[in-house]
Each structure stands twice: as structure tokens, then as C-alpha cells.
Amino acid sequence: MLDAYYGSRLTKVALWIFSALVLVFLMLPTLIVVPLSFSASDLLEFPPRAWSLRWYEAFFSSAVWMAALRTSLLLGVLTAAIAVPISFLACFAINRFGGRSAGAIYGFLLSPSVTPGILLAIGLFFILAKLGLVGTLTGVLVGHVVLAIPVVVIVLYPAINRFDWAQAQAARSLGAGWFRTMGGIILPQLGLSLMTAALMAFLTSLDEAVISIFVANGPSSTLPKLMFMSLRDQIDPTIAAISTFWTLLISVALLFFNLRERRQTP
């Protein structure tokens, strides 16, 4: 766009140097944690003087951290398993129904993403307290699904809109019921978008902290909740090991997905 101005190389170089510095700012806090996690020292010294795996050992041998890891992974899978099907049906309904009421439904489904997390958290706490569900996995799960719905809708709705509905109509006119049409025509073609949506729902749940902090307790405590508590009290390199492991887990999920996507699109 600025090629007309890039005649003077100075402009280009200056803009790129500035951008590179901003990129360093964006990446540094994630990357700094990795070497620390392999440090042998109790102190957060950088660069570490000696290396060891003791903080990983501390993490993987801690019953509390392992329980939280299991809870987080389970919640992530369950969130995706619930949020994707119900959001898919809703997007489908919005697309087929059309008009102003469809727009209203769309806006309603996105509303959790613009509501401050702390409001959702304490409000949900009220409701769950009435139902005796505070501190249960169900309670946290409900919160995570509600936060995942807007994310899933944003991914799925354009895909469902792009879909050629004449195909579905053709199937219908040939005598296939809606369920048959869904399974034979619609779902296979939307597979990739559905997988993206599932991954986003999984990651949304995995990273969610505010609702977990207020609603989860004991066995329903997620990894982000425990990390929050421990960061607030004291910081030791165990958190560095957990952070590195956590980032690696998410990277692997994204990478795996990226590879599959490349294989599917010729």
C-alpha cells in the first residue's frame, strides 16, 4: 500500500524496525517462561545457571495439579461436545429462518462475549448457589458452554451461510427427510468448520479463568484457577513448568488441526 512512499528506504526500514519491536513485545512474555521452567534454582534468575527437570517433576507428581489438569481437559472436551451441536442447530435455524428475528437470535447468542466476565461469574454463582451447584463440575461446565457459544457461532455461521442450500433442497425434493439431508449432504461438507468450532470451544474452556475462579471449588477447580491462586500468593518456578506444558499442549492442538486442514484442502 505504501509502495509509493517506500521510494525512500528509510520509511520502510523505520516502520519494520518499529513493527519488529512490537512483535518482540507480543512474544516475549510467553517465550521467557520456557527457559525458566528448566532451571535448577529456586530463584527466578535469568538466564538460569544450572538446568534440571525438577519443576516438571513437582508438577507431574502433584495430585492437586494433576487433578486440575484432568478437570480442565474434561471440561474442554465436554464444552466442545455440548456447545458445537447446539450452536450448529441455532446457526442453521438463523440461516433458514432469516429476517429480523433471526438477527435478534444471532445478537442474543453473541451477548455472553460482550458481558464482563466478572458479572457472568458472580451472577452465575448466585444462580448456582440457589440450585446447590456451586463447586460442581456441572456448574463450571454451564459457564464454559455459555462462553463457548458465541465463539462457535462466529465460526459456524459464515460457513453455514456460504453453504449451497439448493443441494439440501434437491435432496429434500427427492424424498430425503431433514435428518437424512443433514447427515448425507450438510454435515460432510461443513466438517472442517465444525472441527474448527470444536477446537475453538475446547480452547475457550481450557483458557477460561474468571468463571472458574468464582464458581469452581475443590475437585472442580481448573488449572487456570489454581494458577491464579498460586500466582496471587507466591511465584515459584513450578508455574513456569506448568505454563510451558500448557502452552505446548495448546500449540500441539493447533498444529494437529492445521495439518489436518492442509490435508483436506487440496
Binding site: 509509493a4 518499529f18 507480543l26 441455532a90 466478572i118 444462580i127 431433514w178 483458557d207 505454563s243
Partner: protein, 289 residues
């Protein structure tokens, strides 16, 4: 089949479609809308359940509330300003590169979005502490004698919040700048406009929609930010979100906490509404021009 039967069939099908949205609507209604309504109701009730405005009188007469409102607005405003200073040139650089290269760089920009907020907060603690990497680097370079107070205060919180918001701020601006017609820029260059003049009179106005979207996102997210101030603020930075937590965990005062929650919601709706209004005004102006 006659027309009446056909119409009935169409109506039945529409009802069937609508029924598919019900599970999602019910869930969002029960777990997102109802809680907010509940907070609203709770804010007008006494402990015994009688109607009252005492909760609002209590929070609005407290200096702590007003300093929390000030902190919240200061954090959000400063985050937006820094995002603009860092993000707009970054978006401009990207929009001026080949799409292939820009896409690669975009992956780097999106990387933090895929990193847990807690991992990032921890990373900033490690970097910004008194004996952290930033301070030790500054001292070994001889730029400062004593460690700068960068963490557990307003500065630390602000850095963490800018880091969270910058990718979300850059993306809509980059998209808007990509859409600008290259010929307009070439024309301005060929007529001798300086780069600064071109940015100010052509690029910024034409990407105003993207900048407004980015700003709206910054405000909607940062006004309610909790994790970053709670950790990087070290108890000294108390926006409304932290005040709510404090009111609940220290005093178990649900009435005041709810009233503070309503105050936060009003703040979000006001700023969101103002930015949407501004956007509408600009769009209208663009249509008349």
C-alpha cells in the same frame, strides 16, 4: 397441493427451524442473561429481601467506588492510547507488505491470543519484577541505578492489558487498511504529499471504521478485566472488577457487590453505545460525502 396447504407447510417448516435454536437460546438465557438480571435484582434488595436503594447509596457515597471508577477508566483509556501508538503503525506496515508475508507475521501477532492469560501474566511478572529481566537489563546497561517499579502497580497492570488487547485491536485495523484503494495513495504521493500528510488525511480517515471497531473491543474487554489487575496490580490497583471481588471475599456483601456489578455494566453499555453512535455518525457522514 393447494396454496393454503403449501403455505401451512412453509409455516410448519419455519416453526421447525426456529425450534432448533431453542437449546442454545435457553442455555444463554439461563446462564448469561438470567445471572445479569439476578445481579440487577439483588442490587435493589436488602439482606432480608426487602426493596431498597441502600446498596447504591452505600457504594456511591464511598470514595473507594469513585477511585475504582477512576482506575477502571484510566486503565482502559491508557490501554487504548498505547494500543493506538503501537498498533496503527504495525497495521500500516502489514497492510503495505505482500499478503503472503503479512499472513506469516499475523500468525506471530495471533500467538499471544492462543497463550493462556495466566501464562502471559506469569511471564510479565518474571520480566517486570524488581530483580526481573527488564530491570536487570536496564541496570547492566547503566540506564538506571535502582530497579524501576514495573510490577505490582498501575504500570505492570497496564503493560499486561496492552499485551492482551493489542492483537485484538490490530486485526480490524489491518483489515480496514487492506481495503484502501492503492491508487489513492499513489495519487497522493505523486502530487507530492508527505507520508505523514498522506497518513493523516487519507489512510487514517479511510480506516476509521476499523480503528473504531478496535477501540470498541478494547473498551468492552478492558472495563471488566479482572485477572491482570488482580495479579499484576499486586493489590494496589483496584478497578471495579477487583472491588467486586474484594467486596465479596472480604465482606460477603452481596448487595454492594451487585450494585458495583450494575455500575460496571452501565459503564460498558455507555462507552459501547457512545462508540457505536460515533460509528453510525461517521458512516452517515461517509454516505453524504
Amino acid at each position: 397441493m393447494n396454496t393454503a396447504a403449501l403455505l401451512q407447510d412453509v409455516r410448519r417448516e419455519r416453526r421447525f427451524f426456529l425450534s432448533l435454536a431453542v437449546p442454545a437460546l435457553v442455555l444463554v438465557g439461563l446462564a448469561a442473561i438470567l445471572p445479569v438480571i439476578w445481579i440487577l435484582r439483588q442490587s435493589f434488595l436488602t439482606m432480608a429481601g426487602d426493596l431498597t436503594t441502600a446498596n447504591y447509596e452505600k457504594i456511591l457515597s464511598s470514595g473507594l467506588t469513585w477511585s475504582a471508577v477512576g482506575t477502571t477508566l484510566a486503565l482502559s483509556g491508557a490501554t487504548l492510547v498505547i494500543c493506538m501508538v503501537l498498533g496503527i503503525p504495525l497495521a500500516l506496515t502489514l497492510a503495505s507488505t505482500k499478503t503472503r508475508i503479512a499472513n506469516r507475521v499475523l500468525i506471530l501477532i495471533m500467538l499471544p491470543l492462543w497463550t493462556s492469560i495466566l501464562v502471559r501474566t506469569y511471564g510479565w511478572l518474571v520480566l517486570l519484577r524488581r530483580d526481573g529481566l527488564v530491570n536487570s537489563t536496564l541496570q547492566s546497561l547503566g540506564l538506571t541505578d535502582t530497579p524501576l517499579p514495573l510490577a505490582y502497580n498501575f504500570t505492570g497492570t497496564l503493560i499486561g492489558m496492552v499485551h492482551y488487547m493489542l492483537p485484538l485491536f490490530v486485526l480490524p485495523i489491518y483489515a480496514a487498511m487492506r481495503d484502501i484503494d492503492n491508487n489513492v495513495i499513489r495519487a497522493s504521493a505523486s502530487m507530492g504529499a508527505s507520508l505523514w500528510h498522506c497518513v493523516r488525511t487519507i489512510i487514517l480517515p479511510l480506516s476509521a471504521g476499523g480503528i473504531l471497531s478496535g477501540s470498541t473491543i478494547v473498551f468492552i474487554y478492558t472495563l471488566g478485566f479482572f485477572i491482570t489487575p488482580a495479579i499484576l496490580g499486586g493489590g494496589k490497583v483496584n478497578p471495579i472488577s477487583v472491588r467486586i471481588d474484594r467486596t465479596l471475599s472480604t465482606f460477603q456483601d452481596w448487595g454492594s457487590a451487585s450494585a458495583l456489578g450494575v455500575l460496571l455494566l452501565v459503564l460498558v453499555l455507555l462507552t459501547g453505545g457512545m462508540l457505536f453512535g460515533l460509528r453510525w455518525f461517521l458512516m452517515k457522514g461517509a454516505r453524504h460525502a
